[in-house]
Symmetry: C2
Subunit: 245 residues, 2 copies
DNA sequence: TTTTTTGATTTGTGATCACACTTGTATTGA
DNA sequence: TCAATACAAGTGTGATCACAAATCAAAAAA
């Protein structure tokens, strides 16, 4: 029998060992930059240099340039004609464009998921609601990173249940693109006095637990529209005050 | 005044000169591979090697590996655990998944375009209809490449009018992913006796010329569903006959 | 003071090399 | 004859270097 390295052995001892994933440096760089972008660690219009990132990530330039290339193709970063690369600036048109696409695709994904989620899966995301509560109750100091991460886990746990290997990468790309916007919005939120963010998530869970695709879609649209609408108002008022001065 | 290379000169003589784009080798490789994938020049499950492609494209391995990385992130190619890369195989589930996503996103794009296209723009794509006719009238020998190219130009001329910088790259990614399927379907078409492919395009143009988003969306759905449905039947009958033998 | 020019530094791109892993083919053993 | 081993060719990954283009700063000219 031909034995290749990719297939798992049937040895009863080896069966207890988890396969040691051979992640490349390039993958680690890519995932790290992804995390930073979705979390909004880079600000819009900031330019990124290959050697600078390589130094910060303690690797050579090679894995970084390939990771940057990948991020550029999914529009998470932008290639300037000078061949330098920056995180895309925020404009009103782009925000509306992103929100429309997210409503379209994430709405479809959650509608699909609503009809396919088992009660077991629903209970998993329901438990996240509790996590959210205790986080907000425990400490009032803003822990934006954890909030962003939890929000991301909540949404993608749902999207994964839609069972589409095509839609999910697209949603990831959309989150990557709207990451910088969201970060700005969240900071603006906590400045403007926190409204109940958990309310939307509760209605999403409620719709999913009764397998109602339409209600789930509408609750989701309300949820993801809120930071965009907030940010749009903020940008418009800033533009108005700047126009006067 | 600071003068950089990226900004266009105001010199009245230089104004007549088109900027000479500084396309990198990597870009050329990427575009060439894209073209090959959408055109279906690679067959499903075919593995691609960096050095092999570098030899074929007459460059070093460097631009090729970066282009491959980009194509992998947009799911146009697939990275195997062995770290070799292949064009994804066709499965029934994946086909249905792709078709659903295309109906969702391209349908939205054409509905947006229907309300925004000027009569001038409509006449441009209407003229493509004629191109199609003369191509089919002139020679009966199948010129699949030209047919695929014209079909692509026709669709993207419409999508561009939707004015969404977010949706269009997603549609390109979807075409990239469904490219290998389409090629197989087109060959199957011409074997099975050609039904009127132009009919669908005529109804699309008709809907656009009266700015009817719903009709345009439905005509488009019929158009892009046809090869998928055809291919699905073909695969199912093949699977059935293979199950018997 | 303002503008232009010159030079030094930084940056992205492509090529080449070394290394580790995989794969395919002989060779050896039973 | 067949299975296992050993060897050889092939492949992806990461590092380093050379080069051209871009950027920035200081110096020179207006």
């Amino acid at each position: 029998m031909q034995k290749t390295a990719v297939e798992k052995s049937n040895d009863p001892i080896a069966a207890q060992l988890a396969p040691v994933g051979r992640e490349t440096v390039q993958d680690r760089v890519y995932l790290e930059l992804r995390r930073a972008l979705i979390g909004g660690l880079f600000e819009p219009s900031q330019v990124l240099t290959i050697r600078g990132l390589a130094d910060a990530l303690m690797t050579s330039t090679m894995p970084v340039r390939e990771a940057l290339g990948r991020l550029i193709t999914e529009k998470a970063l932008e290639a300037l004609p000078n061949r330098s690369v920056r995180v895309p600036p925020i404009t009103l048109e782009r925000m509306d464009d992103l929100l429309r696409a997210r409503i379209l695709i994430e709405g479809e994904a959650i509608a699909l998921a609503a009809t396919r989620m088992s009660p077991r899966q629903v209970s998993v995301i329901e438990s996240m609601l509790g996590e959210w509560d205790e986080m907000r109750a425990l400490k009032h100091k803003k822990d934006v990173d954890r909030e962003v991460t939890l929000n991301q886990r909540f949404h993608f746990e749902i999207y994964r249940a839609c069972g589409s290997a095509v839609l999910i990468p697209m949603i990831e790309s959309l989150w990557l693109q709207s990451g910088p916007c969201i970060r700005v919005a969240i900071y603006a939120f906590s400045d403007a006095g926190e409204v109940d963010t958990a309310h939307f998530h509760r209605s999403i869970v409620a719709a999913l637990s009764v397998q109602d695709p339409t209600a789930a879609r509408e609750a989701l649209i309300a949820d993801i529209s809120r930071p965009f609408n907030f940010l749009r108002n903020k940008l418009q008022s800033e533009a108005a005050s700047k126009g006067k001065s």
